[in-house]
């Protein structure tokens, strides 16, 4: 038995970057932002990008697209993000819950 992994070829995705709407939320509030991504960007890369641009540590980020809690090695496109204006949610855990220390 072997684990099967299926990755779409890069050519299956639209070539250019899209502007994805992101609903940022935590336990108390929500806000809307827009970020630029390639549909073939992985969730891991997206976490890293958001850490660099907005300073939220990858371990507090939980990405939700459609009904899925996203996993690191899948692309945003594989969850259905295709066009400008498609929406993803970024839920921010509290540092305590993510066992993050300053």
């Amino acid at each position: 038995q072997a684990a099967l992994r299926i990755l779409l070829r890069e050519s299956c995705y639209p070539a250019s970057e899209i502007s994805m709407k992101v609903g940022v939320e935590d336990a108390a509030c929500s806000a809307n932002i827009t970020i630029k991504v390639h549909p073939n960007t992985t969730i891991a890369l997206l976490r890293h990008q958001v850490f660099q641009d907005y300073g939220f540590h990858p371990s507090v980020q939980r990405w939700i697209i459609g009904q899925c809690l996203c996993v690191d090695d899948r692309s945003v496109g594989s969850y259905g993000i295709r066009k400008d204006g498609d929406t993803a949610f970024l839920y921010l855990l509290s540092a305590k819950r993510a066992k993050l220390s300053e």
């Binding site: 336990a27 108390a28 806000a31």
Partner: protein, 206 residues
């Protein structure tokens, strides 16, 4: 065009043209070839030092300089600054709070896109600014002051300006991140979707 032409050889079209016209046509073609060759060699020289063909063409058109590379390094900064200043002045008259200070990178880009035409470059700076302000407005930043400031601080880069504006917007989330107590989950919250997302995110399912 299968037959190879030699300059001295007889040309089939030559017969129908009077000699002087034939001569003029030959000179025109010769000049076209020479000018093209000169431009190619300038572009080749420029490419070796990382200067784009468009920048060379703009320099030649604006200044008529024989040595566009030398012109670009000695004269271009002043020209671009003049474009930025003119555009900044004219942008102040824009209704609804002006268009802010136009930066050097924006003026540079506009000047190249206008192929070295000063007036067109200024007009282009203004129309680019207008559409950037509109774009940021559409993305939720309607207040003119912070938008113009963010554009200025990021050399007119709309995405970098957006990041900066959004960082400010997300500041409160950073603060709440470190709060010792989370608000309790309200199972009677009217926003069922948000509740669902919170549960999904914080329960860390496999």
């Amino acid at each position: 065009m299968s037959k190879k032409e030699t300059p001295a050889g007889p040309r089939p079209l030559g017969k129908s043209l009077p000699p002087s016209q034939d001569e003029a046509e030959k000179r025109r073609q010769e000049k076209l070839r020479e000018d093209g060759q000169r431009m190619v060699s300038r572009i080749r020289e420029a490419e070796a030092v990382g200067v784009s063909p468009e920048l060379v063409a703009a320099a030649v058109r604006y200044s008529g300089a024989e040595l566009p590379l030398a012109w670009l390094s000695s004269e271009l900064p002043a020209v671009v600054e003049a474009v930025a200043e003119l555009a900044t002045q004219r942008g102040q008259a824009e209704p609804g709070g002006g268009l802010g200070a136009v930066t050097v990178p924006e003026a540079h880009e506009a000047w190249v896109e206008s192929q070295g035409d000063l007036d067109e470059a200024v007009a282009r700076c203004l129309s680019n600014r207008r559409s950037k302000v509109r774009e940021l407005q559409a993305l939720g930043f309607g207040e003119r002051g912070p938008v113009l400031q963010a554009l200025y601080q990021n050399g007119g880069d709309v995405w970098q300006a957006l990041s900066q504006l959004q960082r400010l917007l997300l500041e409160p989330f950073h603060r709440r991140l470190w709060e010792p107590e989370e608000p309790p989950i309200d199972f009677h919250s009217p926003d069922r979707q948000a509740l669902l997302r919170r549960l999904l995110a914080s329960l860390t399912l496999p």
